[in-house]
């Protein structure tokens, strides 16, 4: 067991974890942050995407110990003061989700995408979301939502 100190969604935690524990399992099972989900076992689906020090990572691909001393933001921590994050709003307004399973990861990735490129073309949005799979929406409205969020942020 290794002790880690990590800030998740603005709250400081200190826990003993097994060295092999994945960040996503630490979030879900130890902290009860079940907003972040697991969709695969090969780091392909992106459902588990969170931000580590502000950059998106697949939390199934990061060990909990690697988050020691760092700051993690999940889908549960992006809104502020009861307000939705603009990307959450954009997903809602553009019907960019159906079952919603891919949504937390998709939103976290989309936020990171706009951070890199505040005014992306459709092509750039599509490339930027390549690591996140959605089986419901056909991506059409997800792409639209990200473009809308970019426009709103201008």
């Amino acid at each position: 067991m290794t002790r880690i100190n990590v800030t998740v969604d603005g709250v400081k935690y200190s826990d003993e974890v097994e060295p092999r524990t994945l960040l996503v399992h630490y979030l879900r099972e130890t902290l009860g942050k079940v907003g972040t989900v697991v969709g695969c076992d090969t780091s392909n689906c992106g459902a588990c995407t969170v931000h580590l020090d502000g950059r998106s990572v697949k939390s199934c691909n990061v060990l909990a110990v690697q988050a020691d001393g760092h700051e993690v933001t999940t889908i549960e921590g992006i809104g502020s003061g009861g307000e939705l994050h603009p990307m959450q709003k954009a997903f809602h307004e553009n019907h960019a989700l159906q079952c919603g399973f891919c949504t937390p990861g998709m939103i976290m990735q989309a936020i990171d995408l706009l951070k890199d490129n505040p005014d992306p073309s459709e092509h750039e949005i599509r490339e930027g979301l390549e690591g996140n799979l959605c089986r419901c929406t056909g991506y059409h409205n997800i792409v639209k939502a990200v473009a809308a969020a970019a426009k709103a942020g201008e």
Binding site: H25, R28, E29, G32, K33, V34, G35, T36, V37, V38, G39, C40, D41, T42, N44, C45, A47, T74, I75, E76, G79, L84, Q88, F91, H92, E93, H95, L97, Q98, C99, G100, F101, C102, T103, P104, I107, E122, I125, R126, E127, L129, E130, G131, N132, L133, C134, R135, C136, T137, G138, Y139, H140, N141, I142, V143, K144
Partner: protein, 805 residues
């Protein structure tokens, strides 16, 4: 009543943003795997790596001693059985149906079958210990391919003596719905056009994004099961029917469910095993599959060989269609596994006026993952075949693919139309949908560009793919299902409760998992009862709350389920009218109903339905001889199916040097009857399109010669990403269905059904001048390239490379 005045004149037809979204976008979703209960144990399954093997011994001792392992069970530990994964639709009385037990003790018939279960304090510990279970297998020869299975040389279940499960036929001459197909074929052979083709529907995996998960709490008087299923009601019934548990002691809850597409229309071994373990230990138990387990052991879809013979006169008028299918069921017949290919029986003839028709379906057992419904279920397979054939016929006659379709389709003034398969299509307008699609697509311009590229020998050719599909939705009239030996009915139930504070609770027997029923049902009820959208709460997916229902699949929820909601609402209005008359001291005959209020004709006196609800709650003053309450429920059983249709047009650019293809544009105009929420409809169409396009271009579940699933992870089973797809143009034309009050037809599967042939037709259209007339799906660059090479090395017009031999 201000809220009422603020709301749109009608909710139906407006682009209401979904009620469901708030929890989904903020991570407050209730997935089954999120549930943690006191003392909960975790399960890991030990699965067969072999496709077919005898189990000669299982040593669980090392696993049992591993850290925090509570128990290890094999089938022998459950002499009373664990229930049965039932087949609810034996397609013939003689159907050969192997028993499908959740856990096997003597022989495995496919890879992934469960032979033991490890129970531990954590999922990780259970998974580690599962590795320590030592199973001795003696491998048996396995049969994997449906055509191989037909030979009966290697048997999937040796004790059955054959792999052939059932043969099912529909013959229009015998049924009296049309002529003799053999005569039509003979006539065409003598003096007409005969198109004979073989197509392959590759095997697909539904690949819903939420892996399946089950939590069982046995600690109360009732056993509660949370599970990621499309069918909580059917599951409860089948648990009771196959385990002997009292139905009233089982509560099944489908909390938020992350997609299904038919893939969660099943009663699974994992559900039965989790239930048995929880009951055995008296502790809550959870099992969540890994993605690899999901891809291997969740049921698969499609997997058909199709042999088709289309007869026509020389001018391209169709005269007959003969369909011969061999459908791979996998190792066991899933809940509706045998019936899925049979659903095609009414769809191969599609929108065309075939005078003679015969449908033959042979189902076979193999040592592969079981096969069952996947979005469209039987209808995409049929639509693919007929829409590919119509293109072939057009090529043979030398006319545009749309011309040949128009020549043969049912004209809008011919509805209602009884098809050669005996189905009565209530409404449709293929001309209107096609005209609009052509306009949006820029059909003529793209044809002109195609001609230019052909003339200039452009290495990148342009292909235009057409698919004018129909489907049957709204499963299903109970009597029809009964005549097909289906094990259940097809009705749907709803109840509506008028709460004293003016809020309305709608309980539906459908079980949404992404479709947005909460929003759409609220719109319907808001209009019907004249209450604000926000005041309607839709409850579902819990057998204790929605005690009666037949769940969500087959594009049935709106057409059947929402019609039950409408009828319950109408009953409430009827009941409330009696109270309103009493409160207003008027005769019920003098009351007018509108916008949520009863008015006394010719006066300004009136009372709102929510006021009536409050009055019945108090019940201080109500008429003699009626019960004090206006809540109502309704069960709706449709008389017939509904028949959405549409015209889909796809432009593909195909690089004749590399075989790479790229989608340039995709336009679809679907006629799905009246639309409740255009936003939701568009979403359904987009998602459906990509699933259908993925069949055409990318997805393929492949087993190696040993029966190991090669495409057993998302590395190899290639779901499209955003980078692989484009934005679509979707529109609607409307010819209302006459089979339900709202005039709706269903939209859940349309995109998937229509798009696959549109894409393949486009690729073939691009390459036809190069002598290519078929490419087997998925049309990978390699297959396209090979088809071109083969066509070049022989001569134009005669390639079979890349197509089914």
């Amino acid at each position: 009543m201000t809220a009422v005045e603020d709301r749109p004149a009608t909710e139906i037809g407006t682009r209401r943003l979904r009620k469901e979204d708030q929890r989904l976008i903020t991570g407050r979703t209730r997935w089954t795997d999120n549930i943690t209960l006191p003392g909960m144990v975790h399960l890991a399954m030990v699965r067969s790596p072999h496709a077919h093997a005898t189990i000669t011994g299982i040593d669980t001792s090392a696993a049992a001693q591993a850290a925090n392992v509570i128990a290890v069970y094999t089938a022998a530990d459950f002499p009373e059985g664990l229930g049965v994964c039932a087949n609810a639709w034996p397609i013939t009385p003689e159907q050969v149906t192997p028993d499908h037990l959740p856990m096997v003790g003597d022989r495995v018939a496919c890879a992934g079958e469960i032979v033991a279960v490890v129970v531990a304090r954590s999922a990780a510990e259970a998974q580690d210990a599962a590795e320590l279970v030592d199973v001795d297998f003696e491998e048996l020869p396995a049969v994997l391919d449906a055509m191989e299975a037909m030979k009966d040389e290697v048997l999937a279940h040796p004790s059955k003596g054959t792999n052939k499960s059932a043969f099912w036929q529909l013959d229009s001459a015998a049924a009296g719905t049309g002529g003799n197909v053999e005569e039509a074929i003979a006539a065409a052979r003598a003096d007409g056009i005969l198109i004979e083709r073989s197509y392959r529907q590759q095997r697909l995996i539904p690949a819903f994004m939420e892996p399946r998960s089950t939590v069982v709490d046995p600690t109360g008087e009732q056993v509660t099961m949370w599970t990621s299923t499309q069918i909580p009601h059917i599951l409860r019934f089948l648990i009771a029917a196959t385990t002997g548990m009292s139905e009233s002691k089982i509560r099944v809850i489908a909390p938020d469910v992350g997609g299904g597409f038919g893939g969660k229309l099943q009663t699974t071994p994992e559900e039965f095993i989790t239930l048995a373990v929880a009951r055995r230990l008296g502790k809550p138990a959870k099992y969540t599959e890994t993605r690899s387990e999901s891809l291997l052991s969740g049921h698969h879809g499609r997997d058909q060989y199709q042999k088709l013979t289309l007869a026509a006169t020389k001018d391209g008028t169709v005269t007959g269609l003969k369909v011969e299918l061999v459908a791979n069921l996998g190792a066991y017949i899933a809940i509706v596994g045998g019936g899925v290919p049979v659903l095609g029986a009414w769809m191969f003839n599609a929108i065309y006026k075939f005078p003679a028709y015969q449908f033959n379906c042979q189902t076979v057992l193999t040592n592969t993952t079981w096969v069952d419904a996947y979005r469209g279920a039987g209808r995409p397979e049929a639509t693919y075949a007929i829409e590919r054939l119509m293109d072939e016929l057009a090529a043979e006659v030398g006319v545009d693919p749309l011309t040949i379709r128009e020549k043969n389709w049912i004209r809008h003034d011919e509805f209602p139309f009884t098809s050669v398969a005996g189905m009565t299509y209530d409404s449709g307008n293929y001309e209107a949908a096609t005209a609009r699609a052509k306009e949006l697509f820029g059909y003529d311009e793209l044809r002109a560009e195609q001609a230019r590229r052909r003339a200039s020998g452009d290495p990148v050719q342009l292909g235009i793919g057409v698919s004018t599909f129909t489907e049957m939705c709204g499963l299903a009239p109970s009597r029809v299902l009964g005549s097909l030996s289906y094990g259940a009915g097809g009705w749907e139930h709803a109840s509506i409760r008028m709460l004293p504070t003016g809020k309305v609770e709608v309980v539906t027997g459908t079980s949404p998992h992404g479709q947005g029923h909460e929003t759409a049902w609220s719109q319907i009820v808001a209009d019907r009862l004249g209450v604000p959208f926000e005041d309607v709460e839709v409850l579902h997916g819990d057998t204790q709350i929605a005690y009666k229902g037949l769940d969500t699949y087959g594009s049935r929820s709106l057409v059947v389920g929402a019609e039950a909601v409408v009828r319950a609402a109408d009953k409430i209005i009827d009941k409330a009218k009696v109270f309103a008359a009493h409160l207003l001291e008027a005769s019920a005959d003098d009351l007018e109903w509108g916008a949520g209020r009863f008015h006394v004709k010719g006066t300004d006196k009136g009372v709102g339905i929510t006021e009536v609800a409050l009055a019945t709650f108090a019940s201080h003053n109500y008429p003699e001889g009626v019960e004090p309450g206006i809540d109502a429920d309704a069960t709706f059983d449709p008389d017939t199916f509904s028949f959405p249709h549409g015209t889909h047009l796809c432009a593909m650019e195909v690089d004749t040097e590399t075989g790479q293809s790229r989608m340039r544009s995709y336009v679809c105009v679907d006629d799905i009857g009246h639309i409740i929420n255009p936003l939701i409809v568009e979403g359904q169409v987009h998602g459906g399109l990509v699933q259908g396009i993925a069949q055409a271009l990318w997805e393929d579940a492949i087993f190696d010669d040993n029966g190991t699933l090669v495409t057993g992870s998302f590395v190899d089973y290639t779901l499209p990403s955003a980078a692989d797809t484009i934005s679509f143009v979707t529109e609607n034309t409307t010819s209302p269905s006459t089979t339900n009050t709202l005039g709706t037809k269903g939209v859940g599967e349309a995109g998937t059904i229509a798009s696959t042939p549109a894409v393949v037709n486009a690729i073939v259209d691009a390459l036809r001048p190069h002598g290519v007339h078929d490419i087997q799906m998925p049309c990978t660059p390699q297959r396209v390239w090979r088809a071109l090479q083969s066509a070049r090395s022989t001569h134009p017009g005669s390639t079979d490379e890349g197509s089914l031999q």
